[in-house]
Subunit: 351 residues, 4 copies
């Protein structure tokens, strides 16, 4: 009933706060025999970790993963896989000054209201750092999905008002924005760094494409493939919307134009984003998420403290001017968690 | 693990196919003592039922609800509440002709791939008729939410390319589109009926506003309020996207502009749509969903049959040219299911 | 979170009260394509239904099962299978007199304390009639288990102080006690009918043997095979204990004697009852449950009413002097629910 | 779907193998604000840890608990509480010799069959060491239950064939057997050490009494209080049976004698063990479990290896001749997990 678990057959439970002992995850349901090594998981974590470039925060966490259980002689045993990243670069004192303030755009106010108390150090449980556990678990899921012939690719489609004109997947890991268009990426970096200098932030759109999913994946009716992906994506702190295929643009179309017709070679179009009736249809699964501008900015803002006194606030510290490049591996990891779970549930249905 | 259940503390399990014995729902976790009568539930079902106007299907189901358990002398007992709507206006023979065809935009193809067989009568389990169970359960949730001071209102914001210029909640139930603007509604009806005459369909945008939710509702991290609403909405067959508050428009904003500042009277704006860090912040909860154009159209389309033979198809029958007016009560009901569940989970956390 | 659901991959949710509209069950996760007909399910229900013989209650429910969804043209579709038994022989007025009394041994007192109100007609939700849903769902599970080569047999091992001297499975359905020994059965019938004449009741021991389960079934650590069977059995109202294999008698044995040694043909003994470390070991799974004497007796007892006034009570009505023969099919059904769920979970693990 | 999680509203997920990096637990749903310190949890773990006396194994684990998340400034934050015990006294080489043998009474054979591979070091996941996580989580639950006025006491009632003649709770922690009778304890120690000298082991009966639970706790019908306790107890590796109140002895009683009559001061007897219809009735909750003789003995036994070659086996190493004294705190902890979960579920029902 509490909300830190996700999945049924491939199940993750994350734990950890930004400035506590560490963050991590238990993964249940890993296929026994799956080859697993910390190095592969570390690769994905390195894509999420802070300090990668000028467009990401300078916090210096190494995010080194440790496997404490569930792997024996290089293979998953099928028992709970526990992975932890100990917190190292903790500066709780940096948060002392603002511990009684509700930072605009942050969960300070709502966490206090929900729990009656809160760990104010670096957003505590509400920190983006929580997603490291998902990336680690997602790396495990990806390993298995790779054997299923499934591949997940996300990239920054738009940031700071600049949109990719083309989609070249080879470019994604070559630019600090993880954009799919080299020239757009350059402009994004320029715009984002300019905003960063002003202490301002920006948002963007991340697109995710999944290839190789055979038709029929998903669990009607509440755990439809799109329903679970939507839950997974909206469970990321910075995400404010999601759309599949043609998305919001479908609303003005006629049904006969939006419907993806079929011929003997398959679907003629992909307006549906690869999902029909909540089940994969064999097309690429395509969705986009709206990433809000980072809440932490150093321009002066107005807020109140826990005693409801009005006060100006300037959030100093090490923050990402645009979270898109770092959210890309999180989107991929979260997508992998959704897919791997549904694959195993499909196996159970017919098993 | 199968997907026909939703919620943890207030839990629904729906069942039923379009042309089988009936559709319905078991609701677990209803607060004992809640006054309940079939009449109140029927009211919500009547808003969803077919045949309400020229812009909805002419299928003649009365959708009469029967409570089989969980209520005693007018009160919920706290034990499973079972509600069933027997199917009456079944014309399975109407589907015989197309039983081997994959109707474009429908789940025919994907259901067959998932299950290896399918009930072809009127989309079977994939029928929108399944949502009647959710509306019935949602009516129960609303009854309880009303006692909590929570009110949910959804309406058609856009349909057939026409958008409400104003929002007047009093108008919603006064026009067949359930639009919040009388003049826009008139134009919508005109446009939708024109499309219907051509055998074409259209989509729209439905907006939902929830008032009266105190701050702190939601379960970090996977069951955030927005994550669960997103799952719930995308679990509706016709929905292709969701956005909260400013939604996709937030992506080009600066953080200091998107953040909702506070003063001693509360938040100055509501860009976040009432949700911060996945928890309600006391503002109105606001989200919009993209409703796709109805897949069933009677203009000729191309498809294949189960033997992969190409064939033209014309979907005759009784269909909604625009599903928006009938999805409005479903959106409200589904929202109620999400909220009531999270209220009870909050009670458990502190209980 | 409420407790009327059981299982994860093969999941049942029961509903219904003794004297409401009916009792029934939704079964999720039925393997698509499984041949299913009401007749086969009815057969199991007939073994549980009242009025079978002099040693069972004379309540005249026909317990006729109706499938409302999830079956199409004689096959399970894989979508929720809904089965309902409408209540017919309801005599709520029979309970009016005792509606404010706490019947000794019944759940009247505790249900009122839990829920704050209760359906007093025939024990309401606490009625043994709830188990009809389990038997129906269990019949579906058995159909699938049969294809897996798994067979479940339960029988009365002891009743009214008389114990089977031998185990002859062919005898079980030939005597009204469902005992595995014809001569013991005769004596049991005699003893039970004598007790019934005095208005007294008795209990017994039911043993269950499962054959054909391959080694490795169960989910460490909380959903071990024995843990789930224990939950399932203790969830039956009349059951007060369970033991596996040698059971309580193992406590005085030495480890080297209790351990089941192996040679190349398998285990030499079966003290463990077919379960090692919570997983099936390929031996017969063997457990016994303690069935308490039926609470409803017509000898005078002492109790209080809801106002805490002391009062004598004589429970008239139609009751089973010994529930053993009717609990036998329930034990089999519940065992089937446990096993089928674990089979599907095993498929998910490796899937 | 995998089985390492337990509970719904107060939910634990354990991880860890005997000789991997460590064992531990994530606890979700801890009431925010609950005062928590490692010291209190350590106290319970110290009661379970090896090496306490001559009647327990000499393995030298200190079982030192570390809280990594979920506690801030001495209070539970309501977010996942993660506790880990790093493994220290690992001697994997001790297991090399028997790594291909199926030790009688152990899960070696069944784990290999289930998973296709296994961590052979000290029973891996099947090790009793896994229960340390439950004891740690149970200590947290107990802290909360203490505030509810609920107290759990377990003790060895019988071991090596010697039964307590009296029940004196003050004696439990004063003797190495955790027996409730000082004189019986002395004899037990004598008998157990004599068996240990011969390389043999023995079992026993542990009784658990819970005081202070108000009437109405439990979730009909599958999560009845006794059903969940039974699941919890049978999920302990050494437990082969459970009985409530009068237990198996009730089977020969008449209903009017087994029923606990009431007068205005409450129940006159407690044959039911404090549970009616699966709900607490306000009486002490009383149950007993059958603890099997420890499987590891150093007398020669017969078994096969993974290639099905027959071979004698002598399990050397550091083992408990009787697990009763160390299982007592595990029974208490597991009981606490069951109760605290049901308390929170009750809060949800009425919340």
């Amino acid at each position: 009933m509490p909300g830190s678990s996700f999945g049924e057959a491939f199940r993750v439970a994350t734990f950890g706060e930004s400035h506590g002992g560490g963050v991590g995850v238990i993964v249940e349901g890993v296929t026994p025999g799956l080859p697993l090594a910390e190095g592969e998981i570390q690769q994905q974590l390195d894509r999420r970790k802070p300090g990668q470039s000028a467009v990401t925060t300078s916090r210096a966490e190494q995010d080194e993963v440790h496997i404490l259980s569930g792997v024996f002689e290089g293979q998953a045993t099928g028992t709970p896989l526990m992975m932890v990243l100990y917190n190292k670069d903790m500066r709780p004192e940096a948060y002392r000054e603002i511990k009684d303030l509700f930072r605009p755009g942050h969960a300070d106010f709502t966490y206090l209201k929900k729990y009656g108390l809160r760990d104010h150090r670096g957003a505590g449980r509400a920190s983006g750092r929580e997603t490291a556990g998902r990336v680690a678990a997602g790396a495990v899921a990806m390993k298995q999905l790779d054997q299923r012939g499934v591949h997940i690719i996300a990239y920054t489609k738009r940031a700071a008002g600049i949109e990719c004109a083309a989609v070249d997947l080879d470019q994604i890991e070559k630019n600090p924005m993880r954009a799919a268009d080299a020239r757009a990426a350059e402009k994004m970096v320029e715009a984002v760094t300019a905003l960063a200098r002003q202490g301002e932030s920006t948002g963007g759109i991340v697109e995710c494409v999944v290839r190789g999913v055979a038709p029929g994946l998903g669990e009607p009716v509440f755990d439809k493939l799109d329903a679970r992906l939507a839950q997974g994506m909206l469970s990321l702190g910075a995400v404010k919307g999601i759309e599949f295929g043609t998305g919001f643009d479908c609303v003005d179309m006629g049904g006969s134009h939006h419907n993806d017709w079929m011929n003997k070679n398959g679907f003629l179009t992909n307006h549906a984003g690869g999902i029909l009736g909540g089940l994969s249809n064999g097309n690429d699964i395509v969705f986009r998420i709206a990433v809000k501008p980072t809440s932490s900015v150093s321009v002066p803002q107005e807020t109140v403290d826990i005693h409801n006194n009005e006060t100006p606030i300037v959030t100093e510290g090490r923050h990402d001017p645009c979270i898109c490049p770092r959210i890309v591996p999180v989107v991929e990891g979260m997508t992998a968690l959704v897919l791997e779970d549904l694959y195993k549930r499909q196996a159970a249905l017919h098993g």
